[in-house]
Each structure stands twice: as structure tokens, then as C-alpha cells.
């Protein structure tokens, strides 16, 4: 890393703060939407007669705000902090940063409006409206996909320029993930939103949407997530990552195997079987790669276990890493045909998705917020006990939700195979759905503790002191 010679600050705290606030609002709305949607299954949905606030619309808001509102804003904030520090130069332009922020939030609002007025696109995790009537070029809504593309191109330029300027150096692991992650984000978004809608119908299109769901998580969210882990964990622990070789294996393993697994979202379907075999095999390979990365991080923590007690950020990071491993371990089983027969189409899938999106990536961003927020607002955390409530409610809630829905999924799958009447399956699921709603309320309660704490910290008058935040150097 080059020394900072100019007197101007390297990192733009204003942009980080903006994105973090937007991310927090999006997460609150998304989780509130998820909670409301879960009430539909219990018969207590608050607006049963409203077309605008129909449960289906609320569901789309839940997933899309989680992905494009919370994760993208959160990761962008994190990148604004990491990239200048790793490259030694500022991002391309602070003004453009404000523009990117505005474009992105506008795209989100336009999506929300689109969902309420039946304008969603039929691409899972990419329901953001095309703005065109399917298969035609008649404009019927704001073309959100186009705005997202513009926002993404600006975002990528913003970070790729400082990275490119530093191309003479050997990059650190975080930047490997960021560079490829940005390239993949552009390719994935274009592929998923254009090809099934305009080019390939039916089963061929399904191969694309399967790959899109998969790549969005695996080639944008995962690289950004691991990138931030490789950046913040050594920074906070004040020691290097345990093994460089394992970092290399982890990165190239992800780059090569991950995108090959896309079709596993539609197994035992009209997509040709040999493509399914390929997707299953490479998915099993990626689980091995994942294990090396997790091992690398836990070996890094060796000798610093007390950091789990002293640093909330480390606690979020490693709790997330454990859940990452659990999800990937689960995936190694669920990707096989033997498991697919039973668990596909059931709540098992929902459990899996929540564990990875909330239990891992949201936890990691909570860790980043925990470490970054006091440094941004220059105030000490308002309340340690609220931080603990946030953490423990989130952990308990997500673990309960994970096992609850996984079991519900298994029972659903077997009842489906044994030709039970469909409404018997619904009847069986309702107690599980109650537990799901309660665990969701725990997550929401935890989040409110966290958000209130952020607010109170920003308003507090206790100045931030860096010395209070150092991890003791001694080994335990």
C-alpha cells in the first residue's frame, strides 16, 4: 500500500454514510415485508382486499429490497472504504458517487412502484421491471433494468479506475474478488435480464435463469462478501491471513467451478440430463473449495479466540462464516437428485436461501457496520447491550428459522411423494409457519435494536477514541 501524501482524505466518509443509511432503510423495509408476507400463511394478512398491497407484491419487495437495496448498498459502502485503502488512490469521483447513489435509489423506488402495479419481470431474483410489455417494445413502466445497467456501469467504473491505476502492484486477495466480482456483476445482470426475456424461451431460457439466480449470489454477493472478510478480519485481528495458498485455491476454485453449477436450480426438469450432471458435479467441487476458505479463516483466528469476546465485528464475521459452512454443507446434499426428489419445491429451499442471505452475508455486513459506524460518525457506540441484543436475537432467530423450515420442507417433500392430499400438506405446514413468523419477528426485533443503536450513536456526544478499539496483542 502506498503512503498517503496528499492532505485530502483518501476515503469519502460521506458516500459510505449515504449508502449505509440507504442500506439500513432497505433492510428494515425488506424484513418488514417478509414478516407481513409470512402472515398470509397464517391467515392474518393485514390487507387481504387490497390489490396494491397484495401478498405477492409484498413478497417481491421482500426479496428485491434484500438483494438490490440492502446487499448492493451495503457492499458499495464497504467497497468505498476498502478500495482506496488497498490501491492508495481515491475512487474516480465523489460527484459521480453522489450520482450513482441517486441512480441506484431511484431504480429501487421505481422497482417498488413497479411491483405494486403488476410490472414485475418473470426472472427470479431479477424481478426489477424491464419497463416493456413482455416480448414487445411497448413501454409500460419506467425501464428499471436499463437504469440498473447505467447505475452498475457507473459503479464499476468508479472502483475499477483506481484499481486499474494500481495495476503495477501484486494485488491483495480482496481485490482479486472485487475485480472479478465487478466484471461478473455486469455480465450476469445483462445475461439474466436479456436472454430469457428476448432470446431464449422455455427450457433453454430456464438454463439461463438458473445460471442467473446462481451467479448473482455466487459471482457478485459471494466475491464481495469474501472480499470484505479478507479485508476486515486481518485488519481487526492485526495479523495476516493464515495461508496464501488456500486463498489462491479458494479464489480460483470459486471463479472456475461456481458459474458451472447454474442449472442445479432446475434439476429433474426438461433441461437435458447431461447438463444437470455437470452442474451437480461442479457444485460438489465448489463445496470442497468453500471448505478450504473456511479453514483458512478459522486458522487465522487461532491464537486470537478472545477477539470473539472483545470484538462484535469479529463475532458477526465468524458467526456468518459458520453459517456459510453449514449452508454449503447442506448444499452438497441437496444438489443431488436423491435429495432433490424430496426437497425441491418445499420450504427447505426457503430455509437455505435465508441462511445464506441473512445468516452469512447480512451478518458480515452487520460486522462491517459495527466496525465502521463509530468511525464514520466519530462517536462511540451508544450501547453495548443493544449490540449484544442485535447479535443474539439475529443468531437465535436465523438458526430457529433454518431448522424449522428445513424440517417443514422434509415433511412436505415426503407427504408429496406419498400422495397426501395437498391441503393436508398445508395443514401440516401451518405450525412450522408460525415458528417461522416468530423467528422472523426475532430477526426484526434484533434489527430494530441495531438501527436504534446506530441512530443513538450518531446523536451521542461521546467522542470516538481509536485506542479503545484495539484488540490486545497478547495471545490467549
Amino acid at each position: 500500500m502506498q503512503p498517503q501524501l496528499s492532505s485530502e482524505p483518501l476515503v469519502s466518509y460521506k458516500l459510505i454514510k449515504l449508502h449505509l443509511i440507504a442500506a439500513a432503510i432497505a433492510l428494515l423495509l425488506s424484513m418488514a415485508a417478509g414478516f407481513l408476507y409470512s402472515l398470509q400463511f397464517l391467515g392474518y394478512y393485514p390487507w387481504p382486499d387490497s390489490e396494491l398491497l397484495a401478498p405477492g407484491h409484498i413478497r417481491l419487495i421482500h426479496t428485491n429490497l434484500a438483494a438490490y437495496g440492502w446487499l448492493v448498498n451495503g457492499f458499495t459502502a464497504m467497497t468505498y472504504y476498502a478500495v482506496p485503502r488497498l490501491t492508495g488512490s481515491k475512487v474516480l469521483s465523489e460527484k459521480m458517487g453522489t450520482l450513482i447513489f441517486a441512480v441506484w435509489q431511484f431504480a429501487l423506488l421505481a422497482s417498488l412502484g413497479g411491483f405494486l402495479f403488476n410490472r414485475a419481470q418473470a426472472i427470479e431474483w431479477g424481478e426489477t421491471p424491464t419497463g416493456f410489455r413482455p416480448g414487445t417494445f411497448d413501454l409500460n413502466w419506467i425501464p428499471v433494468d436499463l437504469i440498473v445497467v447505467i447505475g452498475a456501469v457507473l459503479l464499476i467504473t468508479q472502483f475499477m479506475v483506481p484499481i486499474y491505476k494500481a495495476r503495477e502492484q501484486k494485488f491483495y486477495v480482496t481485490l482479486w474478488y472485487f475485480i472479478s466480482g465487478f466484471v461478473w456483476l455486469a455480465l450476469t445482470y445483462l445475461m439474466g435480464n436479456i436472454i430469457p426475456e428476448w432470446v431464449l424461451p422455455g427450457a433453454a431460457g430456464a438454463a439461463v435463469t438458473g445460471l442467473f439466480i446462481h451467479d448473482l449470489v455466487g459471482l457478485y454477493v459471494t466475491p464481495m462478501g469474501w472480499g470484505l472478510m479478507y479485508f476486515f478480519v486481518p485488519l481487526i485481528l492485526k495479523k495476516p491471513i493464515w495461508s496464501h495458498s488456500l486463498s489462491v485455491i479458494g479464489f480460483w476454485g470459486l471463479a472456475f467451478f461456481y458459474p458451472l453449477g447454474g442449472v442445479h436450480h432446475f434439476l429433474i426438469s426438461p433441461i437435458p440430463d447431461y447438463v444437470e450432471y455437470g452442474a451437480i458435479t461442479t457444485t460438489l467441487a465448489i463445496e470442497v473449495v468453500v471448505t478450504t476458505v473456511v479453514v483458512n479463516f478459522f486458522m487465522t483466528l487461532r491464537g486470537k479466540w478472545s477477539a470473539l469476546r472483545t470484538s462484535f465485528a469479529i463475532r458477526w464475521f465468524y458467526a456468518g462464516a459458520v453459517m456459510y459452512f453449514i449452508t454449503c454443507f447442506q448444499c452438497a446434499f441437496q444438489v443431488t437428485w436423491m435429495f432433490q426428489k424430496i426437497i425441491h419445491f418445499t420450504d427447505w429451499v426457503v430455509s437455505h436461501a435465508h441462511m445464506i442471505m441473512f445468516g452469512t452475508f447480512t451478518f458480515w455486513l452487520f460486522g462491517v457496520i459495527d466496525w465502521l459506524w463509530p468511525r464514520i460518525v466519530r462517536r462511540e457506540w451508544h450501547s453495548t447491550s443493544l449490540r449484544a441484543w442485535h447479535f443474539w436475537l439475529s443468531v437465535t432467530g436465523i438458526v430457529v428459522m433454518f431448522f424449522d423450515l428445513m424440517i417443514a420442507g422434509l415433511v412436505h417433500g415426503f407427504m408429496q411423494r406419498e400422495l397426501n392430499h395437498w391441503t393436508d400438506i398445508i395443514d401440516m405446514s401451518i405450525p412450522f409457519w408460525w415458528v417461522r413468523t416468530v423467528s422472523g419477528a426475532m430477526l426484526l426485533g434484533g434489527l430494530m435494536c441495531g438501527l436504534y443503536n446506530m441512530y443513538a450513536t450518531a446523536k451521542s456526544d461521546v467522542e470516538y477514541v481509536e485506542e479503545n478499539h484495539l484488540i490486545p496483542a497478547s495471545a490467549d
Binding site: V183, P259, P270, P272
Partner: protein, 203 residues
């Protein structure tokens, strides 16, 4: 391995391209070789209005005339397209899948397993296979139920399935139970799903 160009081009574009060829270009080529994979446009699909669409126009002549005017292939196509728009917009496809697998006794529950041929048309672009079944699969719904059943079910699912957790779509229907424009479209689309399957009759 740690240089900008390697990361951007080998990992970024290269790995993505390999995956694209193996998991998209290959199946696309295989599927193209299947027999009976001719693409059907909306005009072709709507050439002959379905019996259920004809029935809707005679059962609710005034409401139908107000919504679509004449009963012909043009209004049928418009109803199919609009019905599908609602099916997508209301996220129906997130709780009802549209493909029957060869496993888990789905053949006995829903009907013949899905084939690639039946999805090669305008109304499956993008496909609506879905990944979750809160409600049952709909790929073999064609011809299984009457218009009346669908209307009663959409107005309030509990009318016909007392334990259902599906939301009610009463706002697509008038007070007297006759469909509005969106109601007609939704029923027409639901009655269409599975009609492109040309195999044996369904159980």
C-alpha cells in the same frame, strides 16, 4: 495470478464464458435438435380461441363485451397476454410451479412429466417454472376444471378449498361474480396452461 489483467480477463470474462458455453450453449444446441421444437408466437397460440374463452363470452356476454368487445382470436391473444402479465405481477409463479417431474409420484398427482417441446412458445418467454410449491403445480391444469371453479376459487380460494392459504383476488371480479377485464384474462390464462402439451390425455 495476482495481476489486474489475469483477474479481469481470465477469472472475470474467461471463467464466465466457459460456464456460459457449457451450461447454456450446450443445452441450447441439444434442445434445438429435439423433434417438435418449433417456436409458437402469440398469434399462433391464439389462432383458435379455447373452449373456455368461448364459454366465458357466452356466460357473461355483457361483461365480456365491455372488457374485450368481440370474441375472436385477437381478443383471445390479448386475454392470454394480459392474464400472464397478472400471473407474473402477482407473483403467482412463486407459489405454483409449472413443471411436472418424473419423480416423487408426480405423474400420479399431476399428470405426464413435462417435456421441453411444450415450453417453446411466446407465453413461456421467460418460462414460469418456479422454484416453490406452496400450492400445487399447474402444468397439467389444462381442461381439468371449469370456468366456474376458477372464478369461485379466485374470488375466494376458501370457497372451494377450505384449507387454502392462497390470497383472494376478488378485486378482479364484479359484485355479481362476473369477471372484470383482468378477471377474464386471468381465467383465460389459467385455462391455457398446459394446452401446448400434445401427448396423452391427463388423468
Amino acid at each position: 495470478m495476482e495481476r489486474f489483467y489475469t483477474l479481469a480477463f481470465a477469472a472475470g470474462i474467461g471463467c464466465f464464458a466457459v460456464a456460459f458455453v457449457l451450461s447454456i450453449a450446450f443445452p441450447v444446441m441439444s434442445l434445438d435438435n429435439y423433434k417438435g421444437m418449433e417456436y409458437q408466437s402469440l398469434e399462433q397460440l391464439a389462432e383458435t380461441p379455447s373452449q373456455s374463452f368461448v364459454d366465458l363470452s357466452t356466460s357473461y356476454p355483457e361483461a365480456f363485451a365491455e372488457a374485450f368487445g368481440e370474441m375472436n382470436s385477437e381478443s383471445y391473444g390479448e386475454a392470454l397476454r394480459r392474464g400472464r402479465d397478472i400471473y407474473i405481477g402477482q407473483a403467482c409463479w412463486h407459489c405454483h410451479s409449472q413443471y411436472v417431474r418424473v419423480v416423487s409420484n408426480e405423474e400420479q398427482r399431476f399428470g405426464t412429466p413435462s417435456t421441453a417441446q411444450e415450453y417453446n412458445n411466446y407465453l413461456n418467454q421467460p418460462h414460469l417454472w418456479g422454484t416453490r410449491r406452496v400450492g400445487p403445480d399447474l402444468a397439467r391444469e389444462y381442461g381439468k376444471r371449469t370456468n366456474d371453479w376458477h372464478i369461485a376459487h379466485l374470488i375466494n380460494p376458501k370457497n372451494v378449498v377450505p384449507l387454502s392459504v392462497m390470497p383472494a383476488y376478488a378485486y378482479y371480479f364484479n359484485e355479481d361474480g362476473s369477471p372484470k377485464r383482468d378477471g377474464f384474462s386471468l381465467v383465460t390464462y389459467l385455462q391455457w396452461i398446459g394446452s401446448t402439451y400434445k401427448g396423452d390425455p391427463q388423468p
